[in-house]
Every structure is written in structure tokens, then in C-alpha cells.
Symmetry: C2
Subunit: 257 residues, 2 copies
């Protein structure tokens, strides 16, 4: 059993050298429902994106949207307005080809589920979560130093400090991968934490209500079948540190079983 942190721990990325601008509210990212759950706090947005292992990117395919999972990587000092969120995909992937061809906006959403909010009535059931929504026009990162750095950031997003332990990518490998840069200028962050909010009558009726914490945890590294080397220190350290990183923002609900 761990004591839950009461405040958000520092993100894995360095803080910006100057204060970041507040989250920009455009009509596309202004929260309309549950405004009290939105927080206009760019640091909190960065914290969520810096820890994310999974984003869902929405692409307009012309007749319908598609939503696909992808790995995001945050560069708060990236060259785009508000900083940069990097995505990548095969140059042959349909969604990448679509974006290259039509240059339309994408929506990148990162959601971390923190708890099942079990109320005394169906209608007040909810989830505790943190959700970032970014809307923007992706830019193709050209071959060169930015692409090398972006691919390193993508590896380091998975396991911090890993990129430096790998051989450099070949030109052929680089050419087979498309890196997209989405500006962080238009973004919103919404979160819910804490207890269910029940109607007075339901509370008086005496039924149980509470929260079941949800947590994503890393397991011990499993060697590949063809591996004969020891698990490197940066991997061991990351798995051991996982408690501190993944439990960010989960409030007082978190208990490890």
C-alpha cells in the first residue's frame, strides 16, 4: 500500500524556460459541457502528455472519421505554436497518406482513466479521468536533425533515456517513417477526480457509494527469446520508478493491491 501523492509530480520533460501561455480557447477547444472540470493549466496538459503511452488520433477520411491508436511524444520547446506533439507512422499507412495528400486538421486525444465512480443511482455513475484534446494541422517533419530528435523523443516517451542506448537509425529506416508535428496551441484539458455526487434522497437511503481506482502498471521486463543480455539499467529503473510516474493526478483514491 502506498501513500498517494497529493499534488502533481514534475513531468519527465524539463520545464519551459519562460512561462507557457495559458491554454488557448478557440471555439474548437472551448469546453462546453462540465466547464468546472476543465483546467486552463498548460503545466497539467504537459504532465498528462509527457506520461502518455497511447493517444487516439482522429482523421477525416472524406466520408467518415477514423480513430487510430498511436504513440505521442511531447516536446514543450518544439518549433510549433504552443510546443509540439510528435506522432509517427509508416509512410505507407493509409492515414499518413491521407494527411500528406489533403493537409486537413487532426484531433489527438489522450485519456488516462483513474477510477470508476460508483454512485447510488445509475445517472450519477461516472469515471475519474484526465483527458487532453489537441486539434491542429500536422506538419511533416523533414529529414534532418528535427526528425532524428523527434524519433529519439518517441523512444524516450516509452522508456526515458532509452534512445541513447540504441544504434542510430539508418537512412532507409528514417525514410520509411513519417513523423508528424502537431502544434499544441489549440488544446483543452478536462479531468474529474473524487467522490460520486449523489442526490440527497439517495444518500439518505443508505446505499454504498465509492470509487474503484484504476491504474496502469508496468510488469517486470520479459527477455525476448533470442536475448542473452541482462536487462539494462534504464529499463530496470523505469519499471521500478513506474509507481511514481503513473500515479500522477490520481488523488487520494489510489491504493495498490
Amino acid at each position: 500500500m502506498h501513500t498517494a501523492p497529493t499534488s502533481i509530480v514534475p513531468a519527465r520533460t524539463a520545464p519551459p524556460l519562460q512561462p507557457a501561455p495559458p491554454l488557448q480557447s478557440t471555439p474548437r477547444t472551448t469546453l462546453t459541457r462540465g466547464r468546472h472540470r476543465g483546467i486552463e493549466d498548460r503545466d497539467a496538459l504537459h504532465d498528462l502528455l509527457a506520461q502518455a503511452l497511447l493517444a487516439h488520433v482522429g482523421i477525416d477520411m472524406g466520408t467518415h472519421p477514423v480513430v487510430l491508436p498511436c504513440l505521442p511524444a511531447l516536446d514543450i520547446e518544439g518549433p510549433d505554436e504552443g510546443g509540439t506533439l510528435y506522432l509517427h507512422g509508416s509512410v505507407g499507412a493509409v492515414w499518413v497518406r491521407r494527411l500528406l495528400a489533403d493537409g486537413s486538421d487532426v484531433c489527438v486525444t489522450v485519456t488516462e482513466l483513474d477510477g470508476l465512480v460508483l454512485a447510488r443511482s445509475a445517472t450519477h455513475h461516472s469515471m475519474n479521468y484526465r483527458c487532453a484534446v489537441v486539434v491542429g494541422r500536422p506538419r511533416v517533419v523533414p529529414e534532418g536533425p528535427e526528425k532524428v530528435r523527434a524519433l529519439d523523443l518517441l523512444v524516450d516517451q516509452v522508456v526515458p533515456g532509452r534512445a541513447m542506448h540504441l544504434r542510430p537509425s539508418t537512412r532507409k529506416e528514417m525514410a520509411a517513417t513519417c513523423v508528424l508535428a502537431v502544434p499544441l496551441a489549440e488544446a483543452s484539458l478536462k479531468m474529474r477526480a473524487g467522490d460520486p455526487v449523489d442526490d440527497e434522497d439517495d444518500v439518505a437511503a443508505g446505499g454504498w457509494a465509492g470509487v474503484v481506482p484504476v491504474q496502469r502498471v508496468l510488469g517486470d521486463p520479459v527477455d525476448a527469446a533470442d536475448n542473452e543480455a541482462p536487462v539494462p539499467a534504464h529499463v530496470v529503473r523505469h519499471v521500478a520508478d513506474d509507481d511514481g510516474v503513473r500515479r500522477v493526478g490520481m488523488g487520494d483514491d489510489v491504493q495498490r493491491r
Copy 2:
């Protein structure tokens, strides 16, 4: 430490009375990249959706797509072609109003992350995951028995067997909630499991490679501040059973720390 299941355990929903049709491949859901990772297996699709606590729904907003998190609920015997995936939202939510107004298709994606695939080169890094993509025209579920049942399914998707322990929703509560039914006819399922696949030269160079398992776990229920009742059996049971449910499909990589 647990022994990982070697096959997919039964979904929480009952099996269909007659064999389900194979997943329909339309141009919108035919896998184009990594075809070997797609599995044309409707039971595997149902297993993933039956366990999902989080879907990401993509909506065409006219000038850009938005991707929002939502809770899905599976009814494999639902009235829509291929079965029904239910979503719900406030009747006042912008995305709900947009769908009601323009009747366009949505994309509902459910992704479960199972492992970080750490290869010997950056390019062969990957994730182990299961991902379902459903594209379809949502139908508004009218007031009546189907809506009551759908809302029960949504509660039971979070904690099986919970809906029966709650008071019935009032007419006002029902009217404030829009339930959408998405047909499961057009769907694809893609997954990756197992070791990294490295280049021979990189294996020969002797660096470490392996998989870090990723798992979503439930913690012990935390009573609400205004609660005086004991945790009900269906909640205790679900949290205790979580190992069996959430660890589905994770192959041999799974170890609980």
C-alpha cells in the same frame, strides 16, 4: 506471480445463439498495414469490447474531427446489424447534438495496451496491443425498454451485475441522457503480441531486447466520504476477479509485480 492464461477467456456476455458472421471487410475497415496482425474473428472482437472501460469516438465536426473518450457497452444480440455497441452522452453535449443534427458516421475505437516492445533498434520498437475499430451510423435509441436495457448494460459494463442493485432511473434522468446505438457490422480488430522482431545484425551485436508488460488493474474500493454502508458483494467480487478479466489476451508476457 501469476501463470498467464494461454487462451482468451470467455467474455462477460453470453455467446450468441447462432454462429456470428465473420468480421465484414468493407473498404473502410479492411486492414491495409500489417495485415498479419488483423484477425477476422468476431469472438475476439466481442471479448475486447466486453471488457472495455474506455472507447474513443471520432466525430466529423464539419471542419475538423474531434475524438472524445466515452464508455462503450456491448450487446452482441442487439438489434443492429452485427450486434450493437451502445454509447451515451448528455443531450446537451456538442458532439451528441452534432450527431443528432447531421446523422453522419462515427468511428469508435477501443485500444488495450498490453506491452512495451523494446527492440535492439529504434525502428523495431513497438507496442503489444489489441485494437477494435468500428465505423457506423449511430441510431438514437428511443425512450422505452431498449433504452432502459442499454443504460443497464452501460452500468454493468463498469461493474458486472451492478445495475440490478440501483433504483430505476427517473423519467427526467432518462430524458437527459442520449443513448446511441452503433452497429457492429463494419469492424476490424488488430493486435500484436510477443517479442520484438529485430534485424539479424542487431541480434548478433548482443544488445538486450524484451517486453515490458502493461496492465490495467483495479484497486480496492474507496468509500465515498458520505458513505456508511459496507462495500457490496458485486463490487468486492469484481475487483477480486479483475486479474482474470483484465489479463485476457496478454500472452506469456504478463507478470504481476
